[in-house]
């Protein structure tokens, strides 16, 4: 007696719904591409990345390094946490 089993369906299958995490990999790809473009000086050849003082001249001599983008980002995050705490504590 033989038991017939199906190992594959021999047809192309594609999910109808887009997985929510798929675009993460696109973002990662874009970030890597940008990083390599900067690394090989294709973007901004011969000069560093623009910094805050280039965009807003009033801050020249103060925010004249790219690190300030990141520090400001962290400050926004910390204030978001503090804001959430205050909002929840006073919401009742």
């Amino acid at each position: 007696m033989s038991i017939s089993t199906t190992d594959s369906v021999d047809v192309f299958l594609q999910g109808e719904k887009e997985p929510s995490g798929s675009w993460v990999f696109i973002v990662v790809g874009v970030v890597f591409s940008l990083s390599f473009l900067v690394l090989y000086s294709i973007l901004y050849p011969g000069q560093d990345l623009p910094v805050i003082s280039d965009l807003v001249p009033v801050f020249s001599g103060v925010f004249d390094s790219g690190i300030w983008f990141f520090i400001l980002g962290t400050m926004i995050g910390i204030f978001a946490i503090l804001g959430r705490l205050l909002l929840e504590a006073t919401s009742e």
Partner: protein, 556 residues
């Protein structure tokens, strides 16, 4: 006798005596000691105890939330130090406020914030939940646990300030921070010892791992000073690594092993392997961390010496041998974690399983990072110092890819039980995990590649620094910023979850599978699931279903 064996001998003997006393009590003085400690923990605080709440779980919750907030500062300091390595003048504008940012000092601040602010607070906080659970009792003083968490945070703040400027108004700041930290730790230890003294059943081994971790810290401090280990560079290196093994590794292993069972619903795979992890963390020298004992010298301040001595042949042999043995507890821990979590495909999609991904990550990466650290430390001990260039990157990797994921994963696993709510958003938890992991792996790997390039250039005696190495460091620091974002996402998620997280239903609350005496059957289930939750043949299954009978008015 040599420094390594002498110090380790004192450490083993003292730890055995303390363990013996913990098990046997203090004979006729036990009741007096219990009463005195209980008084010290609550009544002696006076009005201080009214500042905080003493509800069940509030102590653990407070420690864990503060530990998560420290993650942001720890990652931010580390990121900034990585940036300043390739761009030393990036923060020159802060000099007008009197703060001259320096890569090495910020790296030191990052270590204090990460290890003492984050990892320690997460481990101690989780311990406040785990030890009472495993001992079948309640925490001796929730009020004290809650209050002391703020003292600990102040001590870490002082340490961070001290790392930037160690001498203010003629006072050495880092020893001051260490002293405040020691007082807070003493309160934690007394609280946990009193809890263990009231135990109603035999405590499972993960609880002992946490307790031994706590006890080893003050013991090592005393021994390092008495034995003279704190006086020279070899002893300081040894003390640093003993702290790393006995306090950090044992503590993190204890909470992670408990959480692996909680997160997966599977029984802890092997008691023997937990025992091996426990003894291995004490008997061996952990290779994680720096190649010097500067941190010990800073912490002990005037009690430490600054004699730079080379390893003697006997020290070299003993240290290399004891470091090589670390593979045993590391493999025992990693295998126990991974097999316990086997078959659990929950990842972070289910609100019932937060922290699973972090625990998996830490369990996988502890093995390669331990082996890498072993090579670097052995290289230093032998005096070759060929690999010293990558020591810093590897040390940061051990922090952000092993200690932080394991302690954070454990805290996330316990979060629903501590707060009565799920995390606010699973999607945010997933993003937090991906950002932290991706940032740490890619950022630190790129930095390590740059380290290797610089080492090769130094070996070939090339004087001009490589521009590619500098670009890689830049890219590495930008990538590491993902860790900062991940830390912010986790903190925001946990804090918002306390107020708005979905309230957990009573049937989804898990009990530890390490010891289970009764199983509440709320709906139909399989025998496999009951056994997987830690039940055994003697477990009493109690049906707690709803009645279908028609209700009627209540008679008054």
């Amino acid at each position: 006798m040599d420094t390594v064996l002498t110090t380790m001998f004192y450490f083993w003997v003292s730890l055995f005596i303390v363990f013996f006393l913990t098990q046997r009590g203090l004979w006729i003085f036990s009741d007096v000691a219990k009463g005195t400690v209980s008084f010290m923990l609550e009544k002696a605080l006076g009005p201080g105890s009214d500042l905080v709440e003493g509800r069940p779980g509030s102590g653990a919750r407070s420690w864990i939330l503060q530990g998560t907030l420290w993650l942001i500062l720890g990652s931010m300091f580390t990121f900034t130090s990585m940036w300043l390595t390739h761009d030393p003048n990036a923060l020159h504008s802060l000099a007008s406020w009197g703060f001259v940012a320096n890569a090495n000092e910020l790296a030191s601040a990052g270590v204090y914030a990460t290890l003492y602010g984050s990892v320690s607070m997460l481990v101690i906080g989780s311990g406040f939940h785990i030890i009472p659970k495993l001992a079948g009792t309640e925490l001796a003083s929730e009020t004290n646990a809650n209050l002391v968490s703020f003292v600990w945070t102040i001590s870490v703040l002082v340490l961070v300030v001290g790392s930037q400027n160690n001498m203010i108004l003629g006072i050495e700041i880092i020893p001051l921070g260490t002293a405040i930290n020691a007082i807070a730790l003493l309160a934690v230890i007394l609280n946990q010892l009193l809890t263990v003294a009231n135990k109603t059943r035999k405590m499972a081994l993960p609880g002992w791992l946490i307790l031994i971790a706590l006890l080893s810290n003050p013991l090592l401090s005393i021994i390092s000073i008495i034995s003279g280990a704190a006086d020279d560079s070899v002893g300081q290196w040894l003390s640093y690594h003993l702290f790393g093994g006995a306090f950090f590794f044992a503590g993190v292993a204890g909470v992670a092993l408990y959480a692996s069972s909680i997160a997966s619903g599977n029984p802890l795979w092997s008691k023997t392997l937990v025992g091996v992890t426990l003894f291995g963390s004490i008997l061996t020298i952990n290779p994680f961390g720096d190649v010097h004992g500067q941190m010990v010298m800073d912490a002990f301040g005037p009690l430490a010496g600054n004699n730079v001595v080379a390893f003697s042949n006997q020290d070299m042999l003993a240290a290399s041998f004891l470091m090589a043995l670390v593979s045993i507890p590391v493999f025992a821990f990693a295998s126990n974690m991974l097999v316990t979590m086997r078959g659990s495909d929950a990842f972070v999609d289910s609100p019932d399983y937060p922290g699973n991904a972090e625990l998996n990550l830490g369990s996988w990466l502890i093995v390669p990072i331990a082996i890498g650290s072993l090579f670097v430390q052995t290289d230093t001990v032998s005096g070759t110092s060929e690999l010293v260039g990558i020591a810093n990157s590897l040390s940061v990797m051990a922090g952000w890819l092993v200690l932080v994921p394991l302690s954070l994963g454990a805290a996330l696993s316990l979060y629903p039980e501590l707060t009565g709510r799920h995390l606010f958003s699973n999607n945010r938890a997933r993003w937090g995990y991906l950002m932290m992991t991706g940032g740490a792996i890619f950022g630190l790997s790129l930095t390590m590649i740059a380290d290797f390039m610089d080492m090769a250039l130094v070996e070939m005696m090339v004087e001009d620094p490589s521009t590619l190495s500098e670009e890689l460091r830049k890219l590495g620091s930008v990538m590491f910023y993902g860790v900062v974002i991940g830390a912010i996402l986790h903190s925001l998620n946990m804090i918002t979850g306390i107020f708005r997280g979905e309230i957990i239903s009573s049937d989804s609350v898990k009990s530890s599978s390490i010891s289970i005496e009764s199983y509440s059957l709320v709906s139909s289930t399989t025998v496999r699931k009951i056994l997987a939750s830690g039940a055994n043949l003697d477990t009493e299954v109690i049906p707690v279903g709803e009645e279908d009978e028609k209700g009627s008015a209540t008679k008054l």
